[in-house]
């Protein structure tokens, strides 16, 4: 079974450090084949941090893919860089964090990024859940406005994802197997991808939770790697 971690935070921050080599080591230790990497918070300017992810992808092209972290508060500069990131540097998606960058997810600054994602046919991963800036319902509203864009968020947004078919839920960090059990019972397993948020989350814990869940073998196969492969065209 191919295991792909759909969200890892690669780079240095005031809070922690995770180099490409550290990430690869943790992936090897836990049997993870590939990871989607994005710069960690706090920013606000992610130009240099995105370059580090780009360099990591160049060094480990068969192990790491990049999601370009966009701070839409930089308006035209952000959009220009985001376009180049996909068209020239090989990034496979965008990562936005309205909480960290202090804008409402349904505010106008997000529109340009969503229009660009629609044009370039790349997914947008939104941080959600811990502030008024980016509640799961807000992610649901953005997904409704841009039905052709694949919108990704944490599994806590399952209710918003129920009615919006272009939302993909990333598992981690998980508190326990409950979400996966809910997927077994009532959610489309093709719209769920395994993620650890390493180094915030712990791959060994996330993998153990998947193991303890009631997911069928076929659904595990999809969630652990096949879905994100399909979504990113890997």
């Amino acid at each position: 079974m191919v295991i792909i971690d759909a969200l890892a935070f690669l780079g240095d921050t005031i809070y922690w450090k995770l180099s490409a080599e550290d990430l690869i080591k943790r992936m090897d230790k836990n049997g993870i084949d590939m990871a989607v990497a994005t710069p960690p918070p706090p920013g606000p300017d992610y130009t240099e941090a995105n370059k580090k992810v780009y360099e990591a992808v160049k060094r480990y092209p068969d192990r790491i893919v990049g999601f370009f972290r966009v701070n839409p508060q930089y308006r035209e500069k952000a959009l220009k860089e985001a376009r180049a990131a996909v068209e020239e540097w090989g990034f496979k998606g965008f990562k936005l964090d309205p909480t960290n960058e202090a804008y409402g997810i349904t505010s106008r600054v997000v529109e340009g990024v969503m229009e660009l994602a629609r044009e370039l046919k790349v997914p947008v991963y939104f941080h959600t859940g811990d502030s008024i800036f980016s509640p799961p319902e807000g992610v649901g509203e953005v997904a409704r406005l841009y039905p052709k864009v694949t919108v990704m968020m944490h599994s806590s947004g399952i209710h918003a994802a129920m009615s919006q078919q272009n939302i993909v839920l990333a598992t981690g960090p998980l508190g326990g197997p409950r979400f996966l059990d809910a997927v077994s019972e009532r959610f489309d397993p093709r719209r769920v991808v395994f993620s650890t948020c390493v180094p915030i989350g712990f791959p060994e814990l996330e993998l153990r939770i998947v193991e303890l869940s009631t997911l069928s073998g076929e659904n595990k196969h999809l969630i652990m790697g096949e879905n994100i492969k399909r979504i990113l065209g890997l």
């Binding site: 960090p173 508190g175 197997p177 712990f202 814990l205 153990r208």
Partner: protein, 261 residues
């Protein structure tokens, strides 16, 4: 090493998820290598039993069968006023370690001076502890950590356990624990990094392992234990959190039942 799960639930068949007998509960503990659990009824008083008398008695019978493995928090319905005080007294005199309040499910603020404080006075007199369900956003107005801080301030000799470490309000829970020495933080549903932060700010002595078993499913205790074991803290600090702290604070006298790995 002693492992004590400081926050679990247990009820008879039809009123709670399995395990539903003392034997099944002890078998589950053996499988999880847990020496003891402190348990309390799982449902809210509106469901089956307005007074919790039957539910508390069910746990008492289990405690009698396995006195070194099963311990109890009395569940009370604060709205019944006199009954809640009497129930706390009756069951604590029968060996329960303290009282569990679920402010959201009982629709009462954790620091309600009329409904909660009289029960607290009884707990204080009998030398027991109190476990509060806490969290956000589900319990806002009923059981955010600051309200538990008010209780801790008013009853400084009573150990006040903040269940789930405030969930999303974990920073508030840690600060309240920093301000009041009788606050204990219980780890269920929090992350490894939250546990590390709690240890860094208040020290390891007042952080205790809990799983909310069976609410977190059959594997909840293992997952919550793993979170403690993954923390970037010392081996000794992990042992304290997994069992020694609650054993010391509540004078439980639990000893290890399992060979060391």
């Amino acid at each position: 090493m002693v492992v004590i799960d400081a926050h679990t639930h247990f009820a008879e068949k039809g009123k709670g998820s399995p395990p539903n007998t003392p034997e099944e509960l002890v078998a589950a503990m053996d499988k999880l290598r847990i020496d003891a659990m402190i348990t309390t009824p799982p449902y809210s008083s509106i469901s089956f039993d307005r007074t919790y008398d039957d539910a508390n008695t069910f746990i008492y019978e289990a405690m009698k069968k396995y006195p070194d493995r099963i311990f109890g928090y009395v569940r009370v319905n604060p709205h019944l006023r006199k009954n809640a005080i009497e129930s706390a007294e009756k069951f604590m005199k029968m060996g329960f370690l303290g009282v569990k309040f679920h402010p959201r499910n009982e629709a009462v603020a954790a620091n309600d001076p009329v409904l909660v404080f009289p029960v607290m006075e009884k707990v204080e007199k009998l030398g027991g502890c109190v476990l509060f369900h806490t969290g956000q956003p589900d319990t806002y107005g009923f059981a955010q950590p600051t309200l538990c801080g008010d209780v801790a301030d008013s009853f400084p000799s009573v150990p006040i356990i903040i269940g789930h470490m405030g969930k999303g309000l974990f920073d508030d829970a840690i600060l309240v624990a920093k301000w009041f020495d009788n606050i204990i933080l219980e780890t269920s549903f929090r992350t490894t990094h939250n546990i590390e932060k709690a240890v860094k700010i208040i020290g390891p002595e007042r952080v205790v392992y809990g799983s909310d078993f069976y609410m977190g499913g059959p594997f909840g205790p293992e997952i919550e234990m793993m979170k403690v074991k993954l923390a970037d803290i010392s081996k000794r600090e992990k042992e304290m959190i997994l069992g020694d702290n609650i054993n010391r604070i509540l004078k439980m006298g639990v000893t290890s039942h399992f060979e060391e790995d």
